[in-house]
Amino acid sequence: MPLSWLVLIVLALAAAGYFVGRIRVLKLAGGDVRALHSLPVYYGANVALSAAVPALGVLLLWLLIQPSLIENTVSAMIAPEMIPEGSNLNLVMADVRRVADGLYTAVETGAMNMAQVDALQASADVRATLGELGVALGQDVRPEVLAAAKSYLVASGTGNTARMVVVLALSLTGLVLSMIRTKPDYRARNVVERAVLALLMAAASLAILTTVGIVLSMLFETINFFGLHSWKDFFFGTIWAPNFRGDSELSILPLLWGTLYISFIALLVAVPIGLFAAIYLSEYAGPKTRAFAKPLLEILAGIPTIVYGLFALLTVGPMLINLFGQTGALGVNWMSGATSVLTAGVVMGIMLIPFVSSLSDDIINAVPQAMRDGSLGLGATQSETIRQVVIPAALPGIVGAILLAASRAIGETMIVVMGAGAIAKFSLNPFESMTTITTRIVSQLTGDGDFSSPETLVAFALGLTLFVLTLGLNVLALYIVRKYREQYE
């Protein structure tokens, strides 16, 4: 029986259990809801959960465990001398699995029956037969592989039957047991609520799972990278110069510097503008202005970053050249190319304005009126109150908003690619081109180099390092917020 059917049957049992459980408990209580411990829906839900959860749980485990069990038995069939030169057991097993998969599909679609599969000989063109069914095999099938594949198929067939029996049995047992337990004084609500709580908890843990997934999906390639490239150069070198000829210098430091510098300039733009905008909106503006300006500013955060990239390239870069360039209005000749840390930083800053303004606005609004009253009552002007009382009180929240903006700045790609250029170097001059970690991740990953060369794999090391860095930043933020939070409460 296909997996989907099994799942559907269990779900159907659960659904049936829901109604039966409900009806049964009401009957036991003589139709009087008041005689029950919990509402009838909870009894129904309890039966449904007992029928579904253990069964599906076991099914999931089964799905995870069965393949490796079968793998072990079948791989025992492959004697070491059967493994061709230059190959290994894993590769042969991969072949076995593919053939078995193909045969399974063949049986499943009705193109063959088990007897025909048994009769199948390696001499017959297995590859062509399976190809017609849409199963791709890399090479012609050797006899020992076919034999192993057959036993693989048989084992998994047995396994699947056992799986079906066990799962259905569990589901039915759950159903019956919970029905027996269904009595008017059974604490159905408490049980169901515990189950719901477990669900909620699972949802919250997804964040951790994602983190684990991110780390794992980068870890192996990062390890490969460090196998090919010295970690000392990566962490402590000073030059970033990937090269097709290999033997590149790949140090994260110049990239980190660029990342920090550009983010810093972005924040230098976004924080004052955003903060002043937030102050004006929350402290001075009337409700109408606020209702109008706040969502308008928020649009800035929604514009795709590629548009900002083009904006940097076509508008802001040339404008800065017109100011600071050789023939510029200021006549200072500080800037030679339109791409610079300043260009990218300014444009990124514009994008970040709403991050700072909207969040800070909410936070400033949350400062208790009593603080303002206290200051105004002493004869402070509104701006004195804001500067000396409101902002300090809202500071932890504002720091949080700035950190969020900083995170965005660190993770931004398109604006840097188009606005800042692609040169990795240490320099204090904001009119020079630099580049950031994120853009290097994208470009090394999508470049033309050999995919197993350090020049490509470095993307994963960069990604993981950045991940660890931002994690540190967030721990710090949590610490700061914890330390200063509720000071005024």
Binding site: G286, P368, A370, M371, R372, D373, G374, S375, L376, G377, L378, G379, A380, T381, E384, Q388, V389, P392, A393, Q487, Y488
Partner: protein, 265 residues
């Protein structure tokens, strides 16, 4: 403890410090204060009493124009301090509030150090020439706020770390530090425990030697203990105003009597 008989001995209370004429306050369409006329004396404690929602706080906040901060609030009529109309166009509410200090119901120290809490007002008003000057003002205010002994060793600890009663005295000290002439207090003890309340009341009693104090309270006992004059508000009207002893022993108005005897409120 506080003796009502003590009142008569005060000198200044006949000099009018604040006088309100036909004051009306509206919150949008709500008429919160209806035609109030009152003369408040200098160097005395005046108590505003009345059931919840009768407009005590509203009227109090008119005196230093804190109502300006409420968008929907509109004030008609005149309030004169030292004969000058504070709702005159030429008056800067900021200057006014330096002259008319305020203490709020819930202690609201700034999330700063104790020192900075006190120094805040003098700093913004430029009352101190230098650091030493400022230190002196801080010490003097804390002393007058009757809290110096408790905090002198931790002037740089946060003001929010004090107990409720200490916080409220800190707020009083903070209000005094700018050398106001009038001190408005809106239920300053309602968030405090009995011991703290007693300390604050003692302090108020001292303050009246220098300031004109107006206090809103929901506790008639408190009014009786600390004030020389009492105003009874009801539904936005000033029902009765007179010497505290008289109001509590021999109220003229029926409503005042019901309130005092606990039949309303």
């Amino acid at each position: 403890m506080y003796d009502i008989a003590k009142m008569g001995t005060d000198v200044d209370q006949n000099t009018t410090k604040i006088s309100a004429r036909n004051v009306q306050v509206y919150y949008g369409d709500t008429h919160a204060i209806k035609d109030v006329n009152v003369e408040i004396g200098a160097r005395s404690v005046t108590a505003f009493i009345g059931p919840s929602g009768c407009g005590k706080s509203t009227f109090l906040r008119c005196i230093n124009r804190m109502n300006d901060t409420i968008d929907v609030c509109r004030v008609d009529g005149d309030i004169l301090i030292d004969g000058e109309d504070i709702y005159d166009k030429r008056v800067d509410p900021v200057q006014l509030r330096a002259k008319v200090g305020m203490v709020f119901q819930k202690p609201n120290p700034f999330p700063k150090s104790i020192y900075d809490n006190i120094a805040y007002g003098p700093r913004i008003h430029g009352l101190a020439k230098n650091k030493a000057d400022l230190d002196e003002i801080v010490e003097k205010s804390l002393r007058r706020g009757a809290i110096w002994n408790e905090v002198k060793d931790r002037l740089h600890a946060p003001g929010t770390g004090l107990s409720g009663g200490q916080q409220q005295r800190l707020c009083i000290a903070r209000a005094i530090a700018t050398e106001p002439e009038v001190l408005l207090m809106d239920e300053p003890c309602s968030a405090l425990d009995p011991i703290a309340t007693a300390q604050v009341e003692e302090l108020i009693d001292e303050l009246r030697n220098q300031f004109s104090v107006v206090i809103v309270t929901h506790s008639m006992q408190q009014a009786a203990r600390v004030s020389q004059k009492t105003a009874f508000f009801h539904l936005g009207n000033l029902v009765e105003y007179g010497d505290t002893s008289q109001i509590f022993t021999n109220p003229q108005d029926e409503r005042t009597e019901s309130y005092i005897t606990g039949r309303i409120g």
